[in-house]
Assembly symmetry: C5
Homo-oligomer: 330 residues x 5
Amino acid sequence: RKQITMPEECVSYLDSDSVSWVDVQGLGNEDILQRLGNVFKLHPLLLEDVVNVPQRPKVEDHESQLVVIARMVVPKEHKIGFYSEQVGFVLGKNYLLTVQEEPEHDCFEPVRQRIRQNKGTLRKQQADYLLYTLLDSIIDGFFPVLEDYGEEIEDLEAEVVSNPTRKTLEKIYRVRRDLLTLRRAIWPQRDAINSLIRDGSTQISESVRIYLRDCYDHAVQVLDMVETYRELAAGLMDVYLSAVSNRMNEIMKLLTVISSIFIPLTFIAGVYGMNFNTERSPWNMPELNWYWGYPLCLVTMGAIATLLVAFFWRRGWFENSSTVVDDPEG
Amino acid sequence: RKQITMPEECVSYLDSDSVSWVDVQGLGNEDILQRLGNVFKLHPLLLEDVVNVPQRPKVEDHESQLVVIARMVVPKEHKIGFYSEQVGFVLGKNYLLTVQEEPEHDCFEPVRQRIRQNKGTLRKQQADYLLYTLLDSIIDGFFPVLEDYGEEIEDLEAEVVSNPTRKTLEKIYRVRRDLLTLRRAIWPQRDAINSLIRDGSTQISESVRIYLRDCYDHAVQVLDMVETYRELAAGLMDVYLSAVSNRMNEIMKLLTVISSIFIPLTFIAGVYGMNFNTERSPWNMPELNWYWGYPLCLVTMGAIATLLVAFFWRRGWFENSSTVVDDPEG
Amino acid sequence: RKQITMPEECVSYLDSDSVSWVDVQGLGNEDILQRLGNVFKLHPLLLEDVVNVPQRPKVEDHESQLVVIARMVVPKEHKIGFYSEQVGFVLGKNYLLTVQEEPEHDCFEPVRQRIRQNKGTLRKQQADYLLYTLLDSIIDGFFPVLEDYGEEIEDLEAEVVSNPTRKTLEKIYRVRRDLLTLRRAIWPQRDAINSLIRDGSTQISESVRIYLRDCYDHAVQVLDMVETYRELAAGLMDVYLSAVSNRMNEIMKLLTVISSIFIPLTFIAGVYGMNFNTERSPWNMPELNWYWGYPLCLVTMGAIATLLVAFFWRRGWFENSSTVVDDPEG
Amino acid sequence: RKQITMPEECVSYLDSDSVSWVDVQGLGNEDILQRLGNVFKLHPLLLEDVVNVPQRPKVEDHESQLVVIARMVVPKEHKIGFYSEQVGFVLGKNYLLTVQEEPEHDCFEPVRQRIRQNKGTLRKQQADYLLYTLLDSIIDGFFPVLEDYGEEIEDLEAEVVSNPTRKTLEKIYRVRRDLLTLRRAIWPQRDAINSLIRDGSTQISESVRIYLRDCYDHAVQVLDMVETYRELAAGLMDVYLSAVSNRMNEIMKLLTVISSIFIPLTFIAGVYGMNFNTERSPWNMPELNWYWGYPLCLVTMGAIATLLVAFFWRRGWFENSSTVVDDPEG
Amino acid sequence: RKQITMPEECVSYLDSDSVSWVDVQGLGNEDILQRLGNVFKLHPLLLEDVVNVPQRPKVEDHESQLVVIARMVVPKEHKIGFYSEQVGFVLGKNYLLTVQEEPEHDCFEPVRQRIRQNKGTLRKQQADYLLYTLLDSIIDGFFPVLEDYGEEIEDLEAEVVSNPTRKTLEKIYRVRRDLLTLRRAIWPQRDAINSLIRDGSTQISESVRIYLRDCYDHAVQVLDMVETYRELAAGLMDVYLSAVSNRMNEIMKLLTVISSIFIPLTFIAGVYGMNFNTERSPWNMPELNWYWGYPLCLVTMGAIATLLVAFFWRRGWFENSSTVVDDPEG
């Protein structure tokens, strides 16, 4: 393993008997990539596939070379989200060329460790096994990302019920958008791996095919999880909408209770605030001159208020549905 | 049937003519599982499938061994819900190794009973028939769980109509989430059983294949039920949202009725509460000095209130739609 | 045609040259069914399929016997709804055994009539033609049920627009649930009939296959109708939600119109109800002592009210959208 | 071309060398249809298909006869909508029998014109070409109907944004229902034409098959349009719901603005309308006796109102979102 | 490359050895097109396909000619949107005829440039390579259009959260409608290219087929993007609806807070505005004559207001959720 800067340095490795892994990190320099294409004798269309982004994950079998385009995700640290990056593989007789979209973040470090430490069977195997190992680490790289979203969805489940705010809504939308991106990445990847297994490409040996089947199973599992999370997130949106409606109901209830109790009382107070001339006629507000006038008036108001409160009580409007939140089973 | 603790004790059984069922409960000790893999001569990938959780249910045919990964559900007692657990099967010539994810809860007890009691044809059959029996009891184990959810949905149907609260909403969401989990468990299981039937695995005899077809029918039926319940639960969410809207309508109606009746009346009372100087001009609130002023004012108020009540009555706002709840046909 | 009570009585018929139809009504007595299984030499799995409910409709071809599980619906009288019942068919060389789940309600009466009256070609045909006739009457039995739901949906279309209540909502939900049940019944039935046509079962003659194709067309038509009604019912739910929102809008408009007009007026009345001492200062409410004070105040109030009414008028809030209901084209 | 009333009159044409087109309009008289079946020697099942309505569009190949069931739509004049009618075709060696469900409205007039005027290649062709011409005119008959709905949807797009009423909702629902009906008509028709092309029916010559492929393309295009319109109509429903919510927001805003401004002011007026005895104590409403009491009170009220208006202004509540309607780009 | 006006001028080119590209821009003159059909010896059905709009994208292989119908989109300048135009291709032995629907806007300019400048391999290739180049530029023409919509959706994501108005709603609807149109254009195009690759048309050489596979990959990618954007737009509609509901909640909260605080206070003020005669009885409003009456009344009012504010505070109603907008992470 060494750092090389000129594509032409690779030439010697291509003809050697041992397996070489050439890992190009970053698509910045077009000239370098062009020369690399020449060194590896890549068909112009294949080179285009490898160096252009974004491409749809796929497999292209071209004479003595097998080109695989894959998409790798690396979870962001300290927060939800992921970096998504295209990786192009060119598998030749005894070399594997990988072209990464960006120099930072990849999920190949464990594989490099195993190579360096001579651990496992990796060093004894051919280039196709290395391709499998890298594809497998790409697919397995989806799991930690998905687990982050699984936890986020669980957090959102709690939040949407206890305290749904506009921020909750945005989070749900962002989770849905990210899961859509993940699905778009894993779906064609699964098909690509499947075509690697089924189409009788001569570059892939029979024993590696068995390992790829395992890799395919993992891709299907990733897709399963993505779909499940997508449905959960869609369900959360429904719950959010209902929670917002519920909250509106609570607000309306409060307004209605207070208005309904005080508006009639205020009306009565208004009536006895009228200035009809009690001296002109015995029919003009005789209550004002009664001995028990004011107490009677207050008692009447109290009775009306009590009746209304009882009415709302019986309708169950005072059961504060917000307390449900504190119920651990709720 | 006996309890063994060392994997190596199994060796003698593997070569015997009689059928052995080795049931490993719990995935705790990795070393034990590794030694078990050695004893049963499992391919590393297969062993990984069996001991790693969660796996997607599937069938792997590998030379003389058939590996089946299944997912078992056991209903929780006393409340809605289920424990979900992975079971790995390794079917050899005359042994069946089962590896359960957790030591508690399984649905194999009836099968163990039948073996102990020598009942039925189970003891006279080969290991593949035992595999069928266990798979069948796993699939049949979904039915009680689903029946619980069927009852829960029926309860929720009543609740969502009579008294929809935030708790109802959470229950609906939880049912949808659990049904999603069940679907994710049964869907690949159905495919796995189907591939057991169709792919000409030599481990499965023709007569057991007929029984597996029955098992497949049950899996399809489980899936049917899950899908139906999912649609019902989605429909319930709609009904819940409508019920919440309806309730808001009721609240708004009440507020509007009370406000609309008393606000004009209070305005009239306010008018006659004004302090215009009646002595300055005959145009300044002469009503206050009329002989019938106050009674006329009250009568006017009463007339306005009556008209408004009549208006609301004709619009049908007093038909209490909440009473619909008590209607058994509703 | 005669009533028999002991399964063993059938034996003589099985060997006769003429076609026998044995119709078991009700699954009550397990012992009887067991003996029946013995008489007809049914494979234990097939017997289980026939006597256990609910089963998924399917076809099982087993040596000299063909087992068909179907689901029959019979419309309820006097109200919307249906009885759903499983029917198991066992077709042998010259007999047809039918096992109905319940003794009441079946849709075979017209077939029995035709047999009794010796009408049509039924009596001259083999047992497979009888199977077709019964299957056809089962499929055709879906049409009246579906027509009921078609009418119900039309009623609901009118109701949801003219007078949507909570009861409407429940009716829509019930229709959706029932259509889901019907779909679950007819979908596998269609597949079962299709497999009867395509799979070269020796029990079904070529000429009967042509008739079964007709039966299959009907099953597809039933499924089409169910799907169409399901979409209509889902659309109705949307319309219901909108209608409820619209109604809320109407209520809010009324509240807003009345509040907006009277609240400013009441404020003015409140102002002139204040008790500032007019004698202390010429700035303290001089209006109260004006000659035209009160009439001016009333005129001002009237002007404000007129302006507000005009404002609402221009916004179209007085167009009562409820009258749309009486429009026959609406 | 002549009008015949007795089915038996057709007989002579069937044996002639020239191509005959027998067009039966209306399914009223069963006896006539029965005799027609005899004249054309139709299999009972085929006759049933042709005369029973509604049938699902399909193709039945039966020995020397090919039966095609199609569904024709004719746009209503002066308003949106269509008449839907079943047409049964029986194609024999040198005749084509068409059975229309109803005597009025068909879309075959242009074909009749071309035959009468001896225009085009129609008269020189065989009966299968006539079948193609009629099927093509049936499929092409969907386009004007769909264009009507396309225009209706465009009208509704404008209406739903500028002035959504209950009537808009009903129109959207009706469009969705009609599109569902059209889809149910065109979907199986497309399959029927496809099976005409692919299945090697001897009644259809190779050259006509090429024309039928064109007809199939049109059917696919019709289906495309139906699906697109269905999605647009579903989107319209969402927009309608949002527009209704928006309108409610406007109403609520108005109510809130007016209430929030006047309720505090009315409270202040209420305070100074209290009758505390100012002579008993210098603390009892001394403001009433201040020289600048009333002006100060009015200024305070004005200040509060201004503050509140400013608050609502900054929140953007006075931007009348209804004016968006007049924006041609909006 | 030269401008020709008479179709007959093409004749000489058709027989020449070099590859000719005849590009007809605009479908205006039917006579010209008819003569063109004669010159190129097009089957009447094919000519119809090429000159009639709109057609569904497709491939028709007819003896020595291959007809491809495609749909080209060109982004509008300065604003979101696109011109959609049909292009018909007729590929002969050594000529390619293209018929564009409209004379303005096409996306072939780069190809013309490359031909004029003799750049790349284009000039040395056969007519089928030219067909590929043009198809490729049509498919690649979708990307800038889609990128516009991608940006629009990102803008709408921000707008729907920060300031959702009726205009936002219309924009979302328009994006959805346009994406539907794009999907309808690209879907059959993808199938057409696929059938070009798979069906062994003799007009397409093996080497061009490889290039077409690349073109097919791009079409799939376009479709992927369209579907993703469609789901995002649908999600936006949900967010919009929720945002509108949230805003309503804010409005209701404000109304409720203000009403709930002032209505009880106004009631108290109303009570002490009543005119009960304090001289008739010591029970008639003795408070009015208390020394501390008015201050006590004000203190009571203040206490009530404080309690209510505290109540709303604890419920979190004063957390202005609108400020979330300014949070860059939100």
